[in-house]
C-alpha cells in the first residue's frame, strides 16, 4: 500500500497542475500596464474629426475605453452588451477606440448597431493601440480618476464580466 502512496501523490499533483493549465487561456496575456498611468494620447473624434480628445481631458472621472473596429467579429458579439449597458443609464462613461478602421465603415457600423460611446476616437494607424498594448480587438480598459489603468479585459465584454468585475470596480473607484 505504502509503495503506491508516493506515485499517487505525484499523479494527483500533476493532474492538479494540468487542470489549472487547461483553464488558463494563453491568449490572455497579463498587461504590464495595470496600475500604471494610461499612455498619453490625443486623437480626433470619429464623429467630428476636427475635434480631438486627449487623455488629459478625461482626468477626474472614472471611464472605460473599449477598443473596437467594424472589421472585428467579436466586437459585433460584444456590442449589444455595451448598447444595453448604455441604455440602462451606463454607470460609467464608455469611450471607444476605433482601432485601425476606415471612418466611413466605423460610422456605418455605429449607425447600424447603435452607439454606446460618449465618443469614439479614431486610431487609424493603431499607434495608440500599441501604446495601450492592444493585440486583439475587442479589449476594454477601466481608467480611474487619476488616469491610472485599473483593469484590462481581453475579448468581448459579457454581461457577467460587466456585472461581476467591471461594475464593482467602477463603484469602488467612484467612491
Amino acid at each position: 500500500m505504502k509503495r503506491f502512496l508516493l506515485p499517487a501523490v505525484v499523479f494527483a499533483l500533476l493532474v492538479g497542475l494540468l487542470a489549472v493549465g487547461l483553464k488558463l487561456d494563453p491568449h490572455e496575456v497579463p498587461s504590464p500596464l495595470i496600475d500604471k498611468p494610461a499612455p498619453a494620447f490625443s486623437l480626433p473624434r470619429l464623429d467630428q474629426p476636427g475635434r480631438t480628445i486627449s487623455a488629459q481631458d478625461l482626468r477626474g472621472k472614472v471611464w472605460m475605453l473599449n477598443v473596437w473596429a467594424s472589421w472585428c467579429v467579436a466586437c459585433r458579439q460584444e456590442h449589444p452588451v455595451l448598447v444595453d449597458f448604455f441604455q440602462r443609464g451606463g454607470a460609467v462613461p464608455v469611450y471607444g477606440l476605433n482601432y485601425k478602421d476606415k471612418r466611413e465603415d466605423a460610422l456605418a457600423w455605429l449607425q447600424r448597431f447603435g452607439n454606446p460611446y460618449v465618443a469614439s476616437l479614431s486610431d487609424t494607424e493603431g499607434l495608440v493601440g500599441i501604446d495601450f498594448g492592444v493585440y486583439g480587438v475587442p479589449e476594454t480598459f477601466v481608467i480611474d480618476k487619476a488616469g491610472v489603468i485599473r483593469l484590462k479585459h481581453i475579448g468581448p465584454v459579457t454581461p457577467e464580466v460587466l456585472r461581476d468585475t467591471i461594475l464593482p470596480l467602477v463603484k469602488k473607484l467612484d467612491a
Binding site: 497579463p30 504590464p32 500596464l33 493585440y135
Partner: protein, 175 residues
C-alpha cells in the same frame, strides 16, 4: 490473366486516387482554419535599406508575436506584427538602441514578448523549474538504485545456499 486483373487494378488505382483527393480536401480545410498563423511566409523585406531591414529583423526575431503566439515578430504576417516591425524600423531610424526598443515593447506587452525572459523573481520558476524537476528525478533514481543494491546485498549465505539448491534441482529435472 493480366486482362482479368486489370479492372481490379484500375479500381484500386481509382480508389487510391479518390482517397488522395479526399486527403487533399481535408488538408486544405484544415489549413484554412489555421491559415492566419500558418501562412509563415518570409516577411517581405522593405528593401529600401537592406542593412536597416536586417537590424529590424534581428530584433524582431527575439520577440514573440502576440497574435500568433508561437511565431516571432519577424516571421508573423499578423497585422500587429507588421505594425510592430514598422515601429521598430522607425525607432531604429530615430537612432534608438536595441535595448530601448525592446524596452518599449516590454512596457506595453510585458515579458511575454521576450523569447528570452529576464531572470527575475517572477520568472524563477520558469528558469529553474526544469532543473528542479531533473534534480528530483535524479534523486528518485539514485534512491531506487541504492535500495535495489541493498536488497541484493541482503541475501544471507543461507539464501545463497537455497538458491543454488533450487537451480541445481531445476537442472537435474531438465536433463
Amino acid at each position: 490473366m493480366p486482362d482479368r486483373l486489370a479492372p481490379a487494378a484500375r479500381r484500386g488505382r481509382l480508389l487510391a486516387g479518390r482517397r488522395m483527393a479526399w486527403l487533399i480536401c481535408v488538408a486544405a480545410a484544415a489549413s484554412s482554419f489555421i491559415a492566419p498563423c500558418a501562412a509563415a511566409r518570409e516577411a517581405p523585406p522593405l528593401a529600401a535599406d537592406p542593412a536597416l531591414e536586417a537590424r529590424v529583423m534581428h530584433i524582431a526575431e527575439e520577440l514573440r508575436c502576440l497574435v500568433c503566439q508561437n511565431e516571432s515578430l519577424a516571421a508573423s504576417q499578423a497585422d500587429l506584427a507588421v505594425d510592430l516591425r514598422k515601429q521598430i524600423r522607425q525607432k531604429l531610424q530615430q537612432g534608438q538602441s536595441r535595448a530601448q526598443i525592446i524596452d518599449f515593447l516590454v512596457q506595453r506587452y510585458g515579458d511575454f514578448v521576450l523569447y528570452r525572459p529576464p531572470l527575475k523573481p517572477r520568472n524563477w520558476l520558469l528558469w529553474a523549474g526544469p532543473f528542479v524537476l531533473l534534480a528530483l528525478a535524479l534523486g528518485v533514481l539514485v534512491v531506487n538504485i541504492r535500495k535495489r543494491r541493498r536488497h541484493a546485498a541482503a541475501l544471507t549465505p543461507a539464501d545463497h545456499q537455497r538458491a543454488r539448491l533450487l537451480l541445481e534441482e531445476g537442472e537435474g529435472r531438465g536433463t
